[in-house]
């Protein structure tokens, strides 16, 4: 398991793509659970959210997992870009006419594009919240915690930011629609009995999670 286990072969790259992708999918659930607390816009709800944000940035176990998360995001992006470049090189002359719709879903043929858009969103998103929480000059709330809620409320009162967020969740949905079930296939987990279940779960996950994420900025914008 020397070099070949990391990036040596086309298959090794896909295994890591699948493993990091699945880990990021699990992370989405945890992230969403935290975000849903924002729907409670009462003063107590705001304090509770700030206390939760403090816990998530200071509790050692969460911190340890967060480093694994940063690594997974960067590795998934790097590996994906590497794969995309190799795939381009594998077909130097493009077809004059290609009927892609006849044999594959749009998302499955555009994972690199979708992933790049998500990466751009992540940079904007993390600058706005993650960077501010860690190194920004945040005010304190009544309990003495950093007032991240105020930063979120300010961001979600700007129409362009809400629109960007919702559009990015649509991009994420398409990425997940193919990516979730694809990661199982990459790991060799294909079985006539279980694959249809995995595919159904993937569609449910890919639709419901981004919709719930997108609901929050819309809700906060409407009730600002």
């Amino acid at each position: 398991m020397a070099r070949s286990a990391i990036l040596g072969s086309s298959l090794a790259k896909k295994y890591w793509m699948a493993l990091t992708g699945l880990f990021l999918s699990v992370f989405l659930i945890a992230h969403l659970a935290g975000n849903l607390q924002l729907l409670d816009m009462s003063p107590e709800g705001q304090l509770k959210f700030n206390a939760y944000a403090k816990f998530m940035t200071t509790f050692p176990v969460v911190k340890a997992v967060s480093y694994l998360l940063y690594f997974s995001i960067l590795f998934h992006a790097f590996d994906g870009i590497l794969l995309a470049f190799q795939n381009r090189k594998a077909r130097p002359v493009r077809y004059a006419k290609e009927n892609a719709g006849a044999n594959r879903s749009w998302a499955s043929g555009n994972m690199a594009l979708l992933g790049t858009l998500i990466l751009v969103f992540l940079v904007i998103h993390m600058k706005r919240f993650w960077y501010e929480m860690h190194w920004g000059g945040l005010g304190l709330d009544a309990d003495g915690n950093k007032d991240l809620y105020a930063v979120v409320a300010a961001a979600f009162s700007e129409l362009w930011y809400v629109a960007l967020y919702v559009a990015s969740m649509a991009v994420l949905a398409f990425h997940l629609l193919h990516g979730f079930q694809s990661s199982f296939q990459s790991l060799g987990l294909n079985h006539p009995r279980y694959t249809p279940i995995i595919k159904s779960v993937g569609v449910f996950f890919g639709v419901v999670v981004p919709i719930l994420f997108a609901l929050i900025p819309v809700w906060m914008f409407v009730n600002r």
């Binding site: 398991m1 086309s10 090189k89 594998a90 004059a96 594959r104 499955s108 079930q181 296939q185 060799g188």
Partner: protein, 252 residues
């Protein structure tokens, strides 16, 4: 002789080093009962009569078995229709007056020899890297039927073995990946007890050769399975993924 008239947009390339270009050819006297290759024969006949260079394209058995015919027709490998090669594609799939695009397989690993003919020997090299069972031929052969094989496994192995190595999977894949071909050639042996002793070495060697040839990476789009004339299933790609993972983790 039929009475269909068509406009063909065909890739012309005089040799491996020529840049190549799409050229337009009108063709007449096409019957809807002709196969696509017979239609190209008619076009070539008309070209030769005018003293022009006929279009080079691969073909051999013309009954869907040999895997020689190729052609990316109107944006699909072996044209519209499922479970067929180009020789089994009939002109009744098209209408009088249609414009049809005809291009060679596009892949770094399948360089164009001339016009629509490509060099697919990369597949032969993948096969030679490990797609076989070493058999002792010194005279003490074991009777094949002495080893019990479940019917289900034998059927699956046979499904994989129906791959004719035409390259439609590579041509169709947006990444130019040869995973369906390699997976079929690994699976047809991995499912049988005779193939198990060399399974690890086979998976490692064939994938290594596949990567070396310059094929792309599998994105599980499933396009290959749709366009494969023999209906080779993505299940075989998953099996190759398992075989390779197990071999990578346990190799010494």
């Amino acid at each position: 002789m039929g009475n269909m008239k068509l406009t063909l947009k065909i890739w012309r390339q005089s040799g491996p080093n020529d840049k190549g270009r799409m050229e337009t050819y009108p063709v007449h006297d096409v019957s809807e009962d002709m196969s696509f290759l017979e239609m190209l024969d008619v076009l070539n006949d008309q070209l030769v009569r005018k003293g022009k260079d006929p279009i080079a394209f691969d073909h051999d058995c013309r009954e869907g078995i040999c895997g020689m015919c190729s052609l990316f027709i109107n944006g699909e490998a072996h044209g519209p229709g499922r479970g067929i090669t180009t020789c089994q594609l009939h002109m009744r799939k098209f209408k009088d007056g249609d414009t049809i695009y005809v291009e060679p397989w596009r892949s770094t690993a399948f360089p164009v020899i001339k016009d629509l003919a490509t060099n697919r020997s990369a597949f032969d090299r993948i096969q030679a890297a490990g797609g076989f069972v070493s058999v002792n031929t010194s005279g003490n052969l074991v009777d094949g039927n002495a080893v019990p094989i479940p019917k289900h496994d034998a059927d699956k192995a046979f499904d994989a073995a129906t791959c004719i190595g035409c390259g439609a999977c590579v041509a169709t894949c947006p990444n130019g990946s040869a995973m369906l071909f390699t997976a079929a050639k690994v699976s047809q042996l991995a499912l049988l007890p005779q193939g198990r002793p060399e399974a690890k070495r086979r998976a490692l060697a064939m994938v290594e050769q596949m990567d070396k040839e310059g094929f792309g990476n599998c994105s599980n789009t499933g396009a290959c399975e749709v366009e494969c004339p023999k209906g080779i299933s993505l299940e075989h790609i998953a099996r190759l993924n398992r075989e390779y993972l197990a071999a990578t983790v346990t190799k010494e």
